[in-house]
Symmetry: C2
Subunit: 334 residues, 2 copies
């Protein structure tokens, strides 16, 4: 796959789909032809790619003929239906939904961590959950140095992870609250404006959410640490873009905050932003639209031995979704 | 102190001072006379108490003569200056600042936890930090059942903890963002609207904030657990009122989520709100103006043995400040 590729994007009109197109442009990915796909509802819409108007087609049985790489971001059901079709047609699917992530036949890849796994694909590669990716990009270099044994993560997740409608809900809801008028909740079970929702995905019988299980199971699979102990909660906060994460990480060996800063400063995909007394720490408003995982507030944990605490922010639409998917595609054509 | 008391409120025009007055009214505290005090800047302002206009006086050397109980919420510096004056004049000061909390001569009291400590006062009793109070009200009944050994807390703290100016900053900042106009940051080092600030209080040389140390040290003092292990981060979020907290609590013995729900349902000051599949969990918009500490998302922790995870929300101006102070005053007059 040395030359320019035919690339399809399924879910091309969604937030992540558009970010995928922008990322392909920005990284100058060798695209010989772009095929924009969506549900029949979006058929005929025009989306720009490299300055050209491209018409969106409804996905169908022949959509993936001669496609080399198919970037999917259209939800789990759509992915369950169409990823096998695309793979059968000869494409490699890089899927942003949760449909295939825990399938033993499907690699789950963060290029900074387990690039080799991408090459074991049988036509489908899964892109991990946004909150998992940013935590692991920060923790992996530290794991290599000191051996990660336990992590406790509380997330502060922006509404853009839910999609365009949630961005509108936060905007219109915030305006309604400020104006003292009624807030209608149409995306979340409760108003998100000036509120906190400890609810991302459905809950199992033990009261643990899908998003929380993703943090546990995807982390173990990506890092090849099947026994890693993981505590966590996932919480939606009234922020438009970028997720924040409070992380306590316990290691087999001791590792100082100074050493962690050195290691992370040299790590791929990480920017250390850590001068709290100078009010410098990662924030959503700074990370929006950026590629890096920003790490700060790196300190000895006050409660556990051999542990560090830190605060990690990254753009959930970029490294948490579109960028990671395009980086996987870049691995394949290297 | 059986009969009605002369009560002074220092900081009567602030957010917590006003909430203290409202709480005294709502709980029908036996007030024979109210003395409203503030800095000279607020002298002459009129504040309502039980339907009457009361004039605010500038605090001075004779302000506390014949005062029985002095509720302070005027910041640490003011408290350092005036609490000894009030105590010397014969009043019992209940101080909401951090000035006296870790003083060995000053009890630090949450009435549901260590009421007896209040009676060891030498004229000053400290009201704990808001984020600490709500965590401990939820954890204390579980500690009594199973023996708390470790807690890991990530906070999601509203701007009202900072004061009236911060509420205005969140309102005006949010409106500016929605209107696409410039946001001026005058209260926090960075914009809080649609953002996250992992920065509450000054940082020490190890990069740990004052608010984070309060969680560690105040928890140990209040619960009389000097060796309790505590990890934590404190984060400001774009919410007007009520703090959220993600808590992992590890115990000496095993305790099931079902048993924890039973214990907490019977505990003073706690309301269990825990049906996540029915979208019922504690939220700031529900807890605002309420007295209780709301606990939900109670589940076996996925990462630690003998541990529970939970999500706790309470009104930082009520139980986190004014209500806890008035409850201490109620202890004294019982």
């Amino acid at each position: 796959m040395k030359n320019a590729k035919r690339v399809a994007v399924l879910g091309a009109t969604g937030l992540v789909g558009r970010e995928m197109l922008k990322t392909l442009e920005q990284r100058d990915f060798p695209v010989s032809e772009i095929v924009l796909l969506a549900s029949p509802r979006s058929e005929g819409k025009i989306v720009k790619f490299r300055g050209e108007d491209v018409k969106v087609s409804a996905v169908n049985e022949s959509s993936f003929n001669n496609v080399d790489i198919a970037l999917f971001s259209a939800g789990s059901k759509t992915s369950m239906m169409w990823a096998p079709v695309a793979a059968q047609a000869g494409a490699v699917v890089i899927d942003n939904s949760s449909a295939w992530r825990m399938d033993n036949e499907v690699p789950l890849v963060v290029p900074e961590i387990n690039p080799d796994d991408a090459f074991k694909n049988k036509g489908i590669i899964a892109n991990p959950n946004c909150a998992t990716i940013q935590a692991l990009v920060a923790l992996w270099p530290l794991h290599k140095a000191a051996g990660l044994v336990y992590m406790n993560i509380s997330t502060y997740q922006s509404v853009s992870g839910t999609g365009i409608a949630a961005i509108d809900a936060l905007s219109s809801g915030s305006r309604a609250v400020l104006d003292g008028s009624e807030v209608k909740d149409e995306v979340y079970p409760h108003r998100i404006a000036f509120n906190l929702l400890p609810h991302i995905g459905a809950f199992d019988e033990n009261g643990i959410s899908e998003e929380e299980w993703k943090m546990v199971n995807e982390s173990r699979k990506i890092m090849h640490l099947p026994n890693l102990r993981v505590s966590g909660i996932t919480v939606r906060v009234p922020v438009f873009r970028c997720h924040g994460e409070s992380i306590t990480a316990q290691f087999d060996g001791s590792i100082s905050p100074e050493r962690a800063r050195e290691i992370l400063s040299a790590a791929n995909g990480v920017v250390v932003c850590d001068d709290p007394s100078g009010s410098a720490y990662p924030m959503p408003i700074d990370a929006s639209g950026k590629d890096a995982v920003y790490v700060g507030r790196i300190r000895m944990d006050t409660g556990l031995d051999n542990a560090l605490a830190m605060w990690v922010v990254s753009d959930n639409l970029r490294k948490g979704a579109a960028l990671n998917a395009v980086q996987i595609a870049e691995l394949l054509i290297r």
